[in-house]
């Protein structure tokens, strides 16, 4: 399926020596192996695509290559020499440059200053050489076919322009290995074309490009070599023209479903929640769906596809530009989380540290937070009621702690997540939005959370489950909605859903 373009045909038959080789590279985070014995090599003058689901270990690998995190085991060989990339400066000196998905910019500085941040060009007198910086920035921007004035402050730029700025930054240094993480996420097709032309030019100049993307059509169009990761392990490295998109998807998902999730079969009831034409500028558009009583509906898609943004807007965290919502047939306008809670919605946010918990407070204070008005007639606290509430959930969710007065900061990640869940369950919602409820928690906690979700659905609670883990999505849900680039692109029933179908929809390719 991959189209051979003429650039690739010109390639010499005997490939040059590898620029970077990974030998059995591993890295764990608190017992979880994010990268597990990965070996492959990247050669100069190639575009090397790195693909895999969310959590496959791509980002960790990039961080290892750029010296942001250190490998636990294995070896990095650069230019045939074993190297320790201890920090970002070392990586930079070796010619390894990364541009990240989330632009890291100085808002109040100009484009040119951002491009040369930390390595300003100097004149012979040691002063900043503004002319040279502007000239160089303008040259690169011209090469990309972008019209941005190097003197514009970054604050005034849109998302796409910032992405281009990030690319400009990477191009302005003499990179030998250029790592690009989803560089096209916010670009128009015209800008993507220019970017690809630039990437090809760099490749022909001998630069190695490690290209990370969920858009498999881009991978087919651009890559010479494809490496597939799954669950932190290296699955396959092959020439791009030997791999069809269907095959790539199969290799990405080939995860076994045997560690299955105990979703009970429940009779699905009436429509409880209805969304129609939800839009928020640049983030998602025209999202419509219905949820029924006792139903678990998964919202699948890659990170950045707009799933979290939809949930936040429904819960009243961010405003909606357009669209209407109904809860049990009555219209609902989300204006604040407080109102949403009152109408029977609850939202377990993705970011447990910043949005879920008050770290220095106790379990009981956190658990009672969303229901405090109900527990405190007249505004007077009744600590014993909060303690009783916390005890109930500690038992129900098997929270391991010495007492309800233990502060959550001292709990493990899994137990913290259970406290967050307690907080929302205490509110006795009718519709529960769960955003990555098992992200970064251990297997035992995961099973506890799944059992609880299933039990709640059996009792008639309606659940919208945002998850990046396909086995979880397939195992837990009655129905799967798939988002891509801010739009709902597919709806799959439990019977029809397979890992391949979900990924194919999320990646925007025809079903395998």
């Amino acid at each position: 399926m991959a189209v051979d373009d003429d650039n690739r045909v010109r390639r010499t038959p005997s490939p040059p020596a590898p620029l970077v080789e990974l030998h059995g590279v591993s890295r764990s985070y608190g017992g979880v192996r994010a990268v597990d014995g990965v070996s492959f090599s990247v050669r100069p003058g190639t575009v090397h695509a790195l693909v895999g689901e969310n959590g496959a270990g791509k980002s960790t690998l990039v961080k290892i290559l750029t010296g942001i995190v250190q490998l636990d085991e294995g070896e990095l060989v650069i230019d045939g020499e074993s190297r320790r990339v201890g920090d970002a400066q070392t990586a930079h000196r070796l010619g390894i440059v990364a541009m990240y998905q989330e632009p890291t910019v100085f808002q109040d500085l100009t484009v040119a200053e951002n491009v040369f941040a930390g390595r300003h060009i100097r004149t012979r007198l040691g002063t900043v050489d503004w002319r040279a910086m502007r000239r160089e920035t303008a040259r690169i921007l011209g090469e990309l076919g972008v019209e941005i004035d190097p003197d514009t402050p970054v604050r005034g730029l849109g998302v796409a322009d910032r992405q281009l700025l990030e690319i400009t930054k990477a191009l302005s240094s003499s990179a030998r290995l250029l790592i690009m993480d989803e560089p096209t996420a916010a670009l128009s097709s015209h800008e993507v074309e220019n970017l690809f032309a630039t990437i090809r030019r760099l490749r022909d100049r001998g630069v190695a490009v490690l290209y990370i993307s969920h858009r498999l059509e881009e991978v087919g169009e651009l890559a010479d070599i494809v490496t597939i990761l799954r669950d932190g392990r290296h699955i396959e490295t092959r020439a791009a023209n030997e791999l069809s998109q269907g095959e790539i998807i199969r290799l990405m998902v080939g995860r076994s479903l045997d560690q299955l999730f105990p979703k009970e079969d429940v009779e699905v009831g009436d429509v409880v929640f209805k969304a129609e034409g939800l839009s928020r500028g640049g983030l998602f558009a025209d999202v419509s769906f219905e949820l029924h009583r006792g139903e678990i509906v998964a919202l699948a898609g890659f990170v950045g596809s707009g799933r979290t943004e939809v949930a936040r807007a429904i819960f009243g965290v961010d405003p909606l530009d357009e669209g209407q919502l109904w809860i049990e047939g009555r219209p609902f306008r989300p204006r604040s989380p407080r109102r949403a809670l009152r109408r029977g919605l609850a939202y377990l946010p993705e970011d447990r540290i910043h949005q879920g918990l008050i770290q220095p407070m106790s379990i009981s204070r956190n658990a009672s937070m969303a229901v405090l008005p109900g527990l405190t007639p007249g505004g007077i606290l009744r600590p014993w009621r909060e303690t009783a509430l916390a005890r109930r959930f500690m038992e129900q969710l098997r929270i391991k702690a010495s007492s309800p007065s233990q502060i959550v900061q001292s709990l493990s990640g899994g137990n913290q997540q259970k406290v967050v869940l307690s907080k929302w369950l205490a509110a006795e919602p009718r519709v529960l939005l769960l955003d990555e409820p098992t992200h970064g928690v251990d297997v035992g906690t995961k099973a506890d959370v799944h059992r609880e979700i299933s039990r709640l659905a059996a009792q008639g609670l309606t659940i919208l489950l945002i998850s990046s883990e396909l086995p979880e999505v397939l195992g837990m849900s009655d129905r799967i909605l798939v988002m891509r680039e801010g739009r709902l692109v597919a709806e799959l029933s439990r019977a029809d859903a397979t890992q391949e179908r979900v990924i194919a929809a999320a990646a925007g390719v025809a079903a395998a």
């Binding site: 965290v317 604040s336 989380p337 008050i358 505004g379 007077i380 900061q409």
Partner: protein
């Protein structure tokens, strides 16, 4: 001292850290008392202690309000201007209506403060001006208002009824009436923070505003409430100020915010919100007033008093930062130990074994 915490449970470590601050203040206070008792001959007299109590009293009344604001990750710099303006308005009213009940005059002062505090809250929450700037602006505006209202006049002690001046002079049970006011306010403030929903919300908002919003806490309304309480207590502080310093003019209580904020900060209220107790703040106020009094008795220059105020803030905040870091290290170590114990209990995966 931190090493001894290692055997404790995490919540005990946290509680110990708070106690550490209060114990530290008590020790500093003890040291100051001993030092001044030796060096300043009149320090250990009942009269001197009553003077200190009168000084502390007004600081405590206003500092209780300031504490609520600081807990929500905000600050009110305008308290001294509110004290000054409400002191003049209530004293002027008493001077012109000598028959008025003191309660009515107090209500006028509190009313003025409530309105001004509410305005601060609106500026911060509705106009979204950072508190430090909003209240710097109102510090100037409210003080300017004082000049407008007084029109260069001043209320003098002889114009005021004796029962008003008695608030400062009388000493039921040996403690000045002012101090009894402060005592009541501190108890009430403590109770609000400990036993009411909005008190709890102040801590939650200051610790993590985003999580507070997600949990349905009306963050904006609570912050307005904190500023309003702070204004009301500053108004009450103004009423007490006029009885203690009955010659009230437009510049009354200028720079008083420095004393209040010093008491709050060295009393252990985190300047980034979320933690602190009224008890600590009272100790902080007592320490500041004791040392100021001692300096006066030793006839030290104004420089040393100001220097002490500033230095105390620096020392307190530095200690806070150190203690917080140590506490977090201790908690992390505890968690690591727990995880290690759990791993030891479960057999490791075969491929994970080296």
């Amino acid at each position: 001292m931190i090493a001894e915490l290692r055997g404790l449970k995490p919540q005990q470590i946290a509680a110990a850290a708070f106690r550490l601050r209060e114990i530290g203040l008590v020790i500093a206070l003890g040291a100051a008392v001993v030092f001044f008792a030796i060096r300043a001959p009149n320090f250990l007299t009942v009269g001197n202690w009553q003077d200190i109590a009168r000084d502390v009293a007004i600081v405590v009344v206003v500092a209780v309000g300031e504490t609520m604001v600081v807990l929500t990750r905000n600050i009110d710099l305008s308290v001294a201007s509110i004290v000054g303006l409400s002191a003049y308005i209530s004293a002027d009213y008493l001077a012109s209506h000598p028959g008025t009940a003191l309660g009515v005059a107090a209500l006028i002062a509190v009313g003025v403060g409530t309105v001004l505090g509410f305005v601060n809250g609106l500026l911060v929450v509705v106009a979204r001006i950072p508190a430090i700037i909003a209240t710097l602006a109102t510090l100037a505006i409210y003080r300017g208002l004082s000049f407008q209202v007084t029109a260069g006049d001043q209320v003098s002690a002889f114009q005021l009824p004796d029962r008003f001046l008695d608030l400062a002079a009388s000493k039921p049970l040996g403690l000045p009436t002012l101090a009894w006011f402060a005592f009541a306010v501190a108890i009430a403030g403590s109770a609000v923070l400990r036993w009411t929903r909005w008190g709890r919300d102040f801590y939650a908002i200051g610790s993590n505003p985003e999580a507070a919003r997600f949990a349905g806490i009306p963050v904006g309304r609570r912050i307005i409430l904190a500023f309003t309480i702070c204004g009301a207590l500053s108004g009450l502080g103004g009423f007490l100020w006029a009885s203690r310093f009955p010659n009230v003019d437009a510049v009354a209580a200028t720079d008083f915010e420095l004393d209040v904020i010093t008491a709050v900060v060295i009393g252990g209220v985190n300047v980034f919100g979320g933690s602190g107790t009224i008890f600590g703040v009272v100790l902080g106020a007592v320490l500041v007033a004791t040392i100021q009094d001692g300096f006066t008795l030793l006839r030290l220059s104004e420089f040393w008093k100001m220097f002490f105020n500033g230095a105390a803030i620096v020392v307190a905040v530095t200690i806070d930062a150190l203690v917080t870091r140590r506490l977090q290290d201790a908690l992390r170590r505890r968690r690591a130990e727990v995880l290690a114990a759990r791993h030891a209990a479960a057999p490791p995966r075969p491929e994970a074994a080296p």
